[in-house]
Amino acid sequence: MSWQDPERVEGIDLPAPTHWPIVTAFGVTLTFAGLVTSGLVTCVGFVTAIVAVVGWWRETLPEPREERIALRPPEQRAHAVVPVPGAVEHLTVGEAGHRVRIPVDIHRYSAGIRGGLVGAAAMAVVAVAYGLIAYASPWVPINLLAAMVIPSLAHADPAELSRFLPAAFGLAAVIHLGISILVGLIYAAILPMFPRRPVLVGGLVFPLLWSAVVWSSLGILNPALNERIDWVWFVASQFAFGLAAGFVISRTERVETLQTWPLAVRAGLEGTGLDRSGPDDPPREGPEA
């Protein structure tokens, strides 16, 4: 490489050593130290600092003083880096070449957002249906969601919960949509890592896992909801989300079947281990440069 073998130069100009910085710093410190010791110290410090600054300027104006440093003799210089061609392991899956971006097939993130929104709608339908059936009011599930944040709702009676409350509605909508979109995005990102039955995994397994997590902590997350929750309906609404979102997303693009890959590879974390050549095979040569 070109910059590794320098042409012969006489020397290199570097800023010359100077004692003015240390003297200036000393003067400045003394100036301050005088405040807590004696005015005399401040005076001395101030004068020192001024003298040093003048000295400093005289050294740097109009052009900073430099000195020419001789280059080291060639034998004491850095060794040129030795190229080692073919020393990098290869990926055998995906594109040819040493390194690729994996996973190869991914969903567009816009698909995730769309899936999240559709899932949100599906979930809302189930939840509102539950509200209508169990409480004869579509607002109950919405208010219950808002009760996660609003303490007064956490202790409200059913009549209160059945009413339309604009603040609660707004809050619930933000929480519901926000989290739905985020979960949709996650779906888009990780469904390709479970390529075998994306809809099954995304539509049933994840919602079940998620429901389990919620079940274990709802008492603290949202006590109001916890008191009134009907778990069958809750899990059903989770399924509605998962299935709708999973369906929308997996339809957007075909996912290459990667199930023989280890998970870390499917996630795009590692590239080794893909080389199917056995340990006894001779190491493969890299392409000639």
């Binding site: 392991e89 944040v149 603290i220 795009g268």
Partner: protein, 345 residues
């Protein structure tokens, strides 16, 4: 309670901490001031929230450390390594997306729950019927005033308990006479700073009677360490009785006249108050009912004759740097003053 993630965490923590606390203080009567044994509504609410947070952070801890360990073991350089460089993987959009969004969701959930919790816990004014107490932090002792009853006391706060069917929570208004202090009894509530030229509030609602300890939590100078707090929660009737005894004027026992005179003719009166006498200072604790307190020096030593003598002779003996000067009284005088103090029931 079903065996859930949170209950599991709870169980583990309770066992560990009970062991932790028990091991050290098996024989003592004082309960360690641990936030894990709340006896008051705010503390209990905070603990509830803690379980969620500890559960979530605990789960993250387990996941990340496992990933790390697996990575270290799985990808260590093997013995028979051929020296070639592993394939270079630059990035992976999806997985990065996933590990950005999952924390966002966790953070969002934590945030929402915390919001509710803050809104529940933080009260800016006392709901009707609550007991009002004004607390003043001093270097290095506490003053408690009960405006309703006209009582002033120090270092030991007496409050009523609430039963299951409700009761009388205490609403504290916090002021400081000098620097910043912080009022903290972990079993009753979180701490709130006590700040000069500012009014702060907090509330407690003990549900059990007993003695609960804490101490000043904001560094406030030399004796910050010995600015202890004792809160005594009484059942309501007992509390009423205490209030009545505190409302009495100081006892004036003729047997200790000599000590009383010495006390009143010394500069003690500039700093201390004893109602019904000319002692009307407010720089030091109110001594009117000194003997109703179990400790002196803001909780550092038991309140008995011996300690009172030692204290009056030289406060620095117990509390180096304390703002009460040694008054230079001779031994017999100190003893007489102490005898007088001992009558201030």
């Amino acid at each position: 309670m079903p065996l859930t993630l949170v209950t599991l965490v709870r169980l583990v923590a309770v066992v560990l901490l009970a062991g932790a606390a028990g091991a050290a203080s098996a024989a003592e009567s004082i309960q360690p001031p641990s936030m894990f044994s709340p006896v008051s509504t705010p503390a209990a609410e905070i603990l509830e929230l803690s379980w969620l947070v500890i559960g979530i952070t605990g789960a993250i801890f387990v996941v990340v450390e496992t990933l790390l360990l697996v990575g270290i073991v799985r990808y260590r350089r093997g013995r028979k390594d051929d020296g070639r460089e592993p394939a270079q993987v630059y990035a992976s959009g999806p997985i990065e997306m996933a590990w950005t969004i999952v924390p966002i969701i966790i953070v969002a959930v934590l945030f929402l729950v915390t919001t509710r919790s803050i809104a529940t816990l933080q009260k800016d004014s006392a709901p009707p019927g609550w007991l009002d107490v004004t607390l003043v932090g001093h270097q290095w002792w506490w003053e408690f005033r009960y405006p309703e009853y006209g009582i002033t006391t120090a270092n030991e706060l007496h409050v009523p308990t609430s039963g299951p069917g409700g009761g009388r929570p205490t609403f504290l208004t916090l002021h400081s006479a000098d620097v910043i202090h912080s009022f903290w009894i972990p079993q009753l509530a979180g701490k709130t700073d006590v700040i000069p030229n500012r009014e702060n509030h907090m509330w407690i609602e003990p549900r059990e009677s007993g003695l609960f300890v804490g101490q000043c939590a904001e560094y406030c100078g030399t004796q910050h360490a010995n600015m202890l707090i004792r809160v005594i929660a009484h059942p309501p009737e007992e509390f009423e009785a205490w209030v009545q005894s505190q409302q009495q004027d100081a006892v004036d026992d003729p047997e200790v006249r000599a000590g009383r005179n010495r006390f009143l003719s010394t500069a003690c009166v500039n700093c201390h108050r004893v109602t019904g006498t000319r002692a009307d200072g407010s720089f030091g604790p109110d001594l009117t009912h000194l003997m109703s307190r179990a400790t002196i020096g803001a909780g550092i030593v038991a309140n008995n004759r011996e300690n009172l003598i030692a204290w009056v002779k030289d406060p620095d003996h117990f509390k180096p740097g304390a703002l009460m000067p040694a008054m230079g009284l001779g031994d017999p005088e100190v003893e007489r003053v102490a005898d007088y103090l001992l009558t201030l029931q």
